[in-house]
């Protein structure tokens, strides 16, 4: 058995005698006998570390879909981007990994400054002045943005583009059961949101939206003009939430530039491994107007008693530990380590690297899309422009196609699924900068074989 407890038998005996107790059981006197667990936990006995590691390695080996064995064309909100050794090494420093929330700033300047740098980078990516210290993931960032928007506008109706990730919309819907927000989804048509026609009579009627949420690029990888969404907000006083891909931000106009009040997104692409979906990194940026409604932690710069620059978590009165039931959000533990990781990775990329990253994804995506569409029976799912991901119609059901491709060593994408018209015969394909021409050619050949 492995134990991480220092105490020897003698230690325990000495301590018990100091307490005047006869046995460790006496420590639990307050626990009523009737409730105590008889017979111990129904779990196997402890094992040595090497055995445990071997067990987990066996489980890991049972995953065929792993980027070191299968070439990954799956995206849908989780991307196979380069994670250089330097990011891994630095983000793995145990001072970052094993520290607590930086509530004692005098001994936490490392994490605080890294998060301050992260906030600055996220704000710049978003084109907005304020960013928080992270949320759980893209989905939770959408939920918090909706909550902020409703609180700011005072109106519980939320218009969502279908282009927002289906899981994130689902998460928002789950949360809405508690908040009572009224979520309404507007479908995509040829890859862009079919918002109501503003000139149509009786729209939006007597329940105008308090929040409008649109994705950029959207779930289908498409770029849509955000002006209509902004126009709806201007008309109704709604808060515009742009769900933006921070990688594409290297090439695309920022949410702020489009007039977003809130920009949210998923930061996994910046140094965090796919990890079967978590831990990831929720990004959240907003304007000064909404500062007091910002969810989650915020790091600010200040000085110490000798006037030296220092960092500290600030505006804590928004937070649940102080504000309790009136807090802007219930988030406490967030995803700090991923935020620190992203700050490192964005430092590694720099201005030119982010552009190059976006450019490489876009080129590889275009080449792959063109080649797939040249296959008989493979058709475009939408015609709007794309930069890293796109959907195609497939002559065989996407699920079947994926199984066939898996057999050939490709994680071929993500099935679009029934929510989207014809989605069961549609595949969402992401092509990151890690894909080479040779991989793409082999993939296209495999798809060609698999669809016939």
């Amino acid at each position: 058995m492995t134990t991480y407890i220092p105490h020897t038998g003698e230690d325990v005996a000495d301590m018990l005698s100091f307490l005047g107790l006869a046995s460790v059981d006496d420590l639990f006197e307050a626990v009523p006998d009737a409730l105590r667990l008889a017979g111990g936990l129904g779990l196997p006995p402890g094992r040595g570390e090497p055995d445990v590691l071997a067990e987990l390695e066996e489980l890991a080996a049972a995953n065929r879909a792993r980027t070191d064995r299968m070439v990954c064309f799956a995206g849908a909100g989780a991307y196979d981007h380069e994670i250089p050794a330097v990011t891994r090494a630095l983000a793995g420093r145990s001072e970052f990994v094993t520290s607590y929330t930086p509530y004692q700033p005098e001994v936490a300047q490392g994490v605080l400054q890294a998060v301050f740098e992260f906030q600055t980078m996220v704000a710049r990516l978003a084109g907005l002045p304020i960013a928080n210290a992270s949320l759980y993931d893209g989905a939770s960032a959408v939920v918090e943005a909706v909550n902020l928007g409703v609180a700011a506008s005072g109106r519980p109706v939320v218009w969502l583009s279908q282009g927002v990730h289906p899981h994130w919309r689902a998460t928002a819907a789950t949360a809405a059961a508690g908040t009572g927000h009224d979520l309404r989804t507007f479908p995509l048509a040829d890859g862009v949101t079919a918002w109501p026609d503003p000139s149509a009579p009786g729209v939006p009627g007597d329940d105008p939206p308090g929040v409008v949420v649109v994705a950029y690029p959207n779930y289908l990888g498409c770029l849509e003009d955000l002006a209509p969404a902004r126009a709806w907000c201007d008309r109704t006083g709604a808060v515009l939430v742009v769900v933006a891909d921070p990688v594409a931000a290297g090439l695309l106009r920022s949410g702020g530039d489009w007039g977003a009040d809130v920009v949210v997104g998923e930061g996994q692409a910046f140094g965090t491994p796919l990890g079967f979906g978590g831990p990831y990194l929720g990004l959240f940026a907003t304007t000064q107007d909404h500062l007091r409604r910002l969810p989650g932690r915020l790091v600010g710069e200040t000085v110490d008693t000798e006037g030296r620059r220092a960092y500290v978590t600030t505006l804590r009165t928004r937070e649940q530990d102080i504000r309790r039931e009136k807090a802007t959000s219930n988030v406490c533990t967030n995803q700090t380590l991923m935020a620190v990781t992203a700050a490192i990775q964005l430092g590694w990329l720099g201005t030119s690297g982010l552009v190059e990253l976006g450019r490489r994804c876009a080129v590889a995506t275009r080449v792959t899309r063109d080649a797939l569409l040249a296959i008989d029976g493979v058709e475009p799912y939408a015609s709007a422009p794309v930069v890293r991901e796109f959907a195609v119609r497939t002559p065989v059901p996407a699920a079947v196609l994926l199984e066939r491709l898996a057999g050939e060593g490709f994680l071929g994408g993500v099935a679009l699924g029934e929510e989207f018209p014809g989605g069961e015969h549609a595949l969402l394909v992401a092509v990151t900068e890690r894909r080479t021409r040779a991989e793409v050619d082999a993939f296209v050949a495999a798809v060609a074989r698999a669809v016939t």
Binding site: A74, L223, Q320, T333
Partner: protein, 509 residues
């Protein structure tokens, strides 16, 4: 005597130089990045992105060499205290040692390199892992099933409240209030609000436990349930828990268990056996996954049989005898699922660490964890009983709350001052200003991974600080002076918010 985990020398924390921000280290044209050679045609951004969408100027990010990036971040890390450097006797947070073996697990390419949307047939290992973890957590809590999706404790709370709401709605009688003791953590009331309920607070009695009379006064059929931590945030076991459960169930309410303090009772008593219907766990506390400077965590929620149909989905499940596709594990959406509470399946790599920790400890080891955690806390309580006032003078569970009220009255030394001074003795500060029911609270949770020598060093340091307060309070109220920065002006940070480098006032301002 030397104190292995406690004489956390402050060495890494004594630097007095500022570290410039990475933006100040940036010089246009420097570069660290490199990508795979793709072999695709060189294409300009102009040809790839339509003008409407194209960003006019690139995002301004720092441009540094790899060497400078490494130096900067390594130096930042040297300005950061951590469990690996020394003890963190931080109440409610269970800052125990995080085994390195679990880091190795989280780094396995077969776990870390897996896309979350890969077909079930290609991720049988992950599905098995999640199912095994769920089963283990149910065994530990005495519950019937669990969701692993919530990303942290607070997310688990909200999930639990939404389950509560769904259940009541399914019973056809929606309710409006949730009861919370006044000693509860702030996330509880915040989650209750987000769950669409009104908070009803019940006071603690002189024992530090739920005041039964007060509870009975607020119990009615509009009560959806009660949220409790047990042991509670005072480190005290709610001895009346069976009576509480009966009373709440009696009015048709549900019991929610905030698992932040689960470490105290592993293998000793199970929330399910106490009568709880919904239980969240903080894997980053009880199951030793690292806090990462404030996250990630994981907050699985386990429930009683009758709540199973409402669990978030899709859930990983064992397929009896293999399903149609011959899979041993698959995804399944519970019949009346409240829906997703995470973008994917939860903080999966955190979950993998927790399973490794549970397997290493096993049934026997987990019970020893609880025993030793409680032993350590009681030893400290007893050791310091003449030194600091114990908020509730009776045996505690895994943590003990002291009060610095007397120090404040006599010398103007607050609990937070004691905490700041303790930093200079090489320990992290205890939790201060929580729980709210104790004036000048100093909440200490030593955890089972600290040795008796470390506890003694901690006690001696607190003893010394109390003497210092009496001799020259300014030594304590002026602390710390030997940390990378001295006391930080928190008020100014809020008053003159500088939350990004770009918001910094021009130099000289």
């Amino acid at each position: 005597m030397s104190a292995p985990g406690g004489r956390a020398t402050s060495a890494p924390l004594l630097g007095r130089d500022e570290e410039p921000t990475i933006f100040e280290l940036s010089k246009a044209g420097r570069r660290a990045w490199s990508f795979r050679t793709g072999g695709f045609p060189e294409t300009d951004v102009e040809d790839l992105v339509p003008a409407l969408h194209r960003r006019p100027d690139p995002v301004d990010l720092p441009e540094v060499s790899e060497r400078d990036l490494v130096a900067h971040v390594t130096r930042l890390s040297s300005r950061q205290f951590s469990v690996d450097l020394g003890a963190y006797p931080l109440g409610s947070c269970t800052m125990k040692y995080n085994p390195k073996m679990c880091d190795a697990v989280a780094a396995l390419p077969g776990l870390a390199g897996v896309h979350p949307a890969a077909p079930a047939s290609t991720v049988q290992g992950w599905l098995a892992l999640l199912v095994e973890l769920e089963e283990a957590l149910c065994a530990i809590t005495g519950m019937a099933g669990a969701t692993l999706q919530p990303a942290a404790g607070a997310a688990g709370e909200l999930t639990g409240l939404l389950l509560m709401r769904a259940w009541h709605e399914a019973q056809g009688r929606p309710r409006h209030t949730v009861i919370i003791p006044d000693s509860a953590h702030g996330t509880n009331p915040a989650s209750v609000t987000l769950g669409g309920y009104q908070v009803v607070t019940v006071a603690s009695d002189e024992r530090g436990c739920v005041d039964m009379a007060a509870l009975h006064r607020v119990l009615d059929d509009d009560v959806a349930g009660i949220m409790l931590t047990n042991p509670n945030t005072l480190g005290l076991f709610e001895e009346d828990i069976a009576e509480i459960a009966a009373a709440v169930h009696g009015v048709g309410g549900l019991l929610y268990y905030d698992g932040a303090n689960l470490n105290a009772i592993l293998g000793v008593v199970r929330p399910g056996d106490m009568g709880f219907d919904i239980v969240h766990m903080n894997l980053h506390k009880t199951f030793a996954t690292p806090h990462g400077g404030g996250g990630p965590g994981a907050g699985p929620v386990a429930v009683a049989e009758r709540l199973l149909p409402f669990l978030p989905g899709p859930r990983p499940v064992r397929v009896a005898g293999g399903d149609g596709d011959g899979l041993a594990y698959d995804w399944q959406v519970p019949s009346r699922s409240i829906g997703r509470v995470h973008g994917w399946h939860g903080n999966a790599l955190v979950l993998a660490r927790a399973l490794a920790y549970i397997r290493a400890n096993g049934a026997d080891g987990l019970r020893r964890v609880a025993e030793t955690a409680v032993l350590n806390a009681n030893w400290l309580r007893h050791r310091l009983s003449g030194v600091l006032d114990v908020a509730y003078d009776r045996p505690c569970m895994h943590e003990v709350v002291f009060s610095a009220q007397r120090l404040r009255r006599a010398y103007g030394v607050k609990a937070s001052d004691v905490g700041k001074r303790l930093l200079e003795y090489g320990f992290h500060a205890p939790t201060v200003a929580f729980p709210l029911v104790v004036d000048e609270a100093l909440m200490v949770e030593p955890t089972e991974t600290e040795s008796p020598e470390t506890l003694e060093a901690l006690a001696a340091a607190l003893e010394a600080i109390v003497s210092e307060a009496a001799d020259d309070a300014s030594v304590v109220t002026g602390a710390p002076t030997s940390t990378p920065v001295g006391r930080v002006d928190e008020a100014r940070a809020a008053r003159r918010l500088v939350a990004t480098f770009d918001a910094r006032p021009p130099a000289g301002d």
